[in-house]
């Protein structure tokens, strides 16, 4: 931009206020509000060519947006939904998702960029001042409101006829009870359902992965096996509810490694079965450290020692994992010798 193109009155020398005006502080009241600073012109305000350039930039952005929308439609029609492409550095991604998202993003972004650029360069940037008014009403209005209210209240007689008032309050207080009653059938009462699982005397321990009943020789030292009670199938109506309580993890320890007496008594040849459901808030425990016999819940890191009654050795769980008493039936399969002795999963008020 050369200076001869700019009208004379817009040259710095001819302006009233120098750019970046620095007012020298008043001697008497240096901290007083000096008032609004003078408006500073932008290039677009004084140079029509600069303004034209901004106009073209805004129009270009809007045009790019239009093209991007056409690109969106073209992508939607032409790109197969199962095609994947390699994009550095993201990796292999869905081509359709990538194309649709980029074109939509560009179409939207360019409308926004155009509007903001328009506002910043071509619309007036002269600051305006508006007065505020107190939020609270003036005393006259306040007095009027109270007068009206008292008159209305007096006309209703609510203060005088106490019988009406009190019975109305009573009725209004009681009527929501119907709504509360209607919520009763949201679910059954807990009763003792949290105390029982599908395990019972004689139920075989079935491997969750193979769906085959487990024999002692299937459980190797150092392995972690997950089991479910015999007869529970994935396709069962209440499979999720039952497995949420009955899920079992089985490990084999050397009998001499078992420190807890009851644990040893409830085991079979060093094979122990514990509830898989964490006693903290119910995540399934799935990380087993075979050297230390510790299991770790991946959700909140509660750690249990399977060689010592599954007591908690770290983390937020409050009590040991319940153990299932197991034995071997006549045909050599592992079987439960009863249900868990205590509720599995997270603790609750009635647990005791």
């Amino acid at each position: 931009m050369s200076s001869q193109d700019i009208p004379e009155e817009n040259l710095p020398a001819a302006q009233d206020h120098p750019h970046g005006s620095v007012s020298v502080a008043d001697e008497e009241t240096p901290f007083a509000d000096p008032g609004m600073p003078p408006h500073e012109h932008r290039a677009q305000d004084i140079d029509e060519r600069a303004a034209k350039r901004s106009e073209r930039a805004v129009a270009l952005l809007f045009t790019i947006s239009m093209l991007a929308t056409l690109g969106f439609i073209a992508s939607y029609v032409t790109i197969p939904h199962d095609k994947s492409i390699f994009v550095f550095p993201i990796g292999h991604i869905s081509a359709l998702n990538f194309a649709l998202g980029l074109t939509l993003g560009v179409a939207l972004f360019c409308i926004g960029a155009g509007a903001v650029h328009w506002a910043r360069t071509l619309m007036s940037d002269v600051e305006m001042v508006a007065e505020r008014h107190p939020i609270a009403a003036d005393p006259a209005t306040r007095a009027q409101v109270f007068e009206d209210f008292h008159q209305g209240a007096a006309e209703s007689g609510i203060g005088r006829r106490k019988l009406i008032r009190n019975t109305m309050f009573g009725a209004l207080a009681l009527v929501p009870l119907s709504g509360v009653m209607l919520l009763r059938d949201l679910g059954p009462l807990p009763h003792s359902s949290l105390r029982h699982t599908l395990w019972a005397k004689g139920k075989l321990l079935v491997n969750v992965n193979t769906n085959e009943p487990l024999r002692p020789e299937d459980v190797a030292v150092g392995s972690l096996t997950f089991a479910k009670p015999e007869g529970l199938e994935e396709t069962d109506e209440d499979f999720q509810n039952e497995i949420a309580k009955a899920a079992l993890m089985i490990v084999r320890l050397l009998p001499e490694d078992i420190k807890d007496k009851q644990e040893l008594a409830w085991s079979h040849e060093g094979i122990v079965a514990f509830s898989k459901i964490c006693t903290h808030v119910g995540c399934p425990i799935s990380l087993y450290e075979q050297q230390t016999h510790h299991v770790l819940c991946p959700c909140h890191q509660s750690t249990f020692d399977l060689s010592d009654g599954a007591r908690v050795i770290f983390g937020p769980a409050g009590h040991a994992l319940p153990q299932l008493r197991i034995g071997v039936n006549d045909e050599g399969y592992l079987e439960a010798l009863g249900d868990f002795a205590e509720p599995v999963g997270p603790a609750f008020w009635e647990r005791g």
Partner: protein, 545 residues
């Protein structure tokens, strides 16, 4: 532009079509008086005022994309076998909810994009609200007359968390199901009513067959309905109160300085909606979020490692992770403190920030309206409290990801957990003290600047060999801006003896208020701002420093 150019007298023909439509609407809706008050309404400009807009626009984006998703999503827990186009899950049993989410992701063209925009926008919505809330807090924008709007905003943040949680639980995938299980465990920990609430929420034992359908109506109807109402109320109050502004030349408590709604603010704010939407769309194009197909359908006996909630629930997750596992058994009952205390703390920590405006106004006893924002440094105790609160929140987030900290930085999970346990208490105290020191230091620097001017960095050597640093005096605009803030006097306990010599009892609440007031505004808790006399004394003898 064209309507302005056509301002010819109307006598010869009909008014322009736009005007006739406007007249029609005004005759029925009275839009002109509304437009008169608002069309050229002035909005002050500051980058931080944009944060609230990010929230508003991401909320709108969530509603738009959410409506689209409802067209394809089946909120049902009926078990079906998968036969869609994602090969690895062929033949798997899964709920219809999971099945339809896979359908949206793989078989509806653009469905994955909308899902990802929806989820990303939710994360940004919550993050925006958090940062916006902090902006309002640290600048004191919550003061009278805006306390109610602060509460509306706080409610939006809390409801947003629960809307997000119920939303990401809908696909019934392994990760979100684990989160729902955690919620059920937390509900069970509530004394007396826990099991009942759990059974009523899940329609029986966990997981049951109902929670997806119930969460669905909560997620798409109940909570967003309330939130939409609150957003509208929030905006109406912003309009009614007029926006706050920072101190500066020409800016007073009694005015508002800025740009008019039409055209500048409308173009900028309207354009900003498209900018936010555009950026989120690009993020959704290139950044995968919540790949439920990789996690598989939910089964209560399965889990993956590194399970994390969405970020806004990480604070609650942290509380649950680092709380010791206390359990008290008595008279056949169990008090599950290890889970119940975090549940209570979750509410207490959130409430602490919600009620803060009322505590501060009680301490100051200030009944005036405040429209000029504070710079955080000029309210050191408030700022220190805010940073302490953020510290508690962030410690919670660290605790919520303790496994990720351990695996990514090769730390011991036990040490990370113990660090968090200790710093849950120590962190906010350290943050409070450090922040207050920093604020007071910045106040001193402002005072120095006002009295001695700006350091120019120029060293001048005087004829007799002395070196002096040249300071440049500030302009009146700068002097005004740096000294415009109001400083409170600490409260004092009034006379304990009345005019008749009878002893008056000082209420404990009054003592507490005086104590707090001194902690806020007493000696050493704020730097007295420079007075005109100090300024004159220093500037009168030019050249002396």
């Amino acid at each position: 532009m064209s309507t302005e150019a056509n301002e010819a007298p109307r006598s010869r023909g009909k008014a322009p079509a736009g005007e006739r439509v406007a007249d029609w609407a005004d005759g029925r809706l009275g839009i002109y008086s509304l437009a008169k008050a608002n069309m050229r309404k002035v909005f002050p400009d500051h980058w931080s005022f944009m944060l609230g807009e990010v929230c508003l626009y991401s909320f709108l984006i969530i509603i738009l994309t959410g409506v689209y998703l409802t067209l394809f999503f089946h909120p049902s827990m009926n078990e079906v076998e998968y036969h869609g186009s994602y090969v690895p899950l062929q033949g798997q049993l899964m709920s219809e909810a999971f099945n339809s989410t896979l359908h949206i992701s793989f078989d509806v063209r653009g469905g994955l994009l909308i899902r990802q925009i929806h989820h990303w926008a939710a994360l940004i919505f919550l993050a925006g609200m958090f940062v916006h809330m902090m902006r309002v807090f640290f600048t004191g924008a919550f003061r009278k007359p805006r306390e109610v709007n602060w509460l509306f905003g706080f409610l939006l943040f809390v409801l947003g968390m629960f809307t997000g949680f119920t939303g990401y639980s809908l696909p019934d995938d392994l990760l979100s199901g684990t989160g729902v299980r955690f919620t059920e465990g937390a509900i069970l920990s509530m004394p007396i009513v826990g099991t009942y609430i759990s059974f009523f929420l899940f329609g029986g034992q966990f997981p049951g067959h109902d929670f997806v359908a119930r969460f669905y109506s909560i997620h798409i109807l109940l909570l967003p309905g309330i939130m939409l109402g609150l957003v509208v109320a929030h905006l109406i109050l912003v309009f009614y109160h007029k926006h706050t502004q920072f101190a500066g030349p020409g800016k007073k408590e009694t005015n508002v300085v800025g740009m008019p709604l039409l055209p500048v603010y409308m173009a900028k704010a309207g354009g900003f909606f498209f900018l936010v939407f555009g950026v989120i769309a690009v993020i959704a194009a290139i950044t995968q979020i919540n790949p439920i197909w990789a996690m598989g359908p939910y089964r209560p006996d399965q889990v993956s490692t590194g399970a994390q909630p969405d970020w806004y629930m990480g604070f609650a997750e942290g509380l649950v992770r680092y709380m010791p596992g206390w359990e008290v058994n008595f008279w056949g009952h169990t008090l599950v403190l290890g889970v119940f205390i975090p549940l209570v703390l979750f509410g207490v920590v959130l409430m602490a920030i919600a009620v803060y405006p009322f505590i501060e106004s009680w301490v100051t006893g200030d009944k005036r309206e405040h429209h000029i924002l504070d710079r955080p440094r000029n309210a050191p105790t408030r700022t220190a409290f805010g940073v302490a609160w953020v510290t508690v929140y962030m410690i919670g987030l660290v605790g919520g990801g303790n496994d990720l900290w351990a695996t990514h930085f090769h730390l011991s999970i036990n040490q990370v957990t113990w660090f968090v346990r200790i710093f849950f208490f120590a962190g906010p105290v350290i943050a409070f003290i450090a922040t207050k020191r920093i604020c007071l230091g910045l106040q001193r620097r402002d005072k120095e600047k006002v009295l001695h001017g700006r350091e120019t960095g120029i060293i001048k050597r005087l004829p007799h060999g002395e070196f002096i640093e040249v300071h440049e005096p500030l302009s009146q605009e700068q002097l005004h801006t740096l000294t415009a803030h109001h400083q409170y006097e600490p409260a004092e306990i009034g006379p304990t003896v009345d005019e008749n010599g009878v002893e008056r009892k000082v209420k404990p609440t009054e003592r507490l208020r005086v104590k707090l007031s001194n902690a806020y505004y007493g000696k050493d808790n704020q730097i007295p701002k420079p007075t005109v006399d100090e300024y004159k004394e220093i500037t009168s003898g030019h050249g002396h420093h």
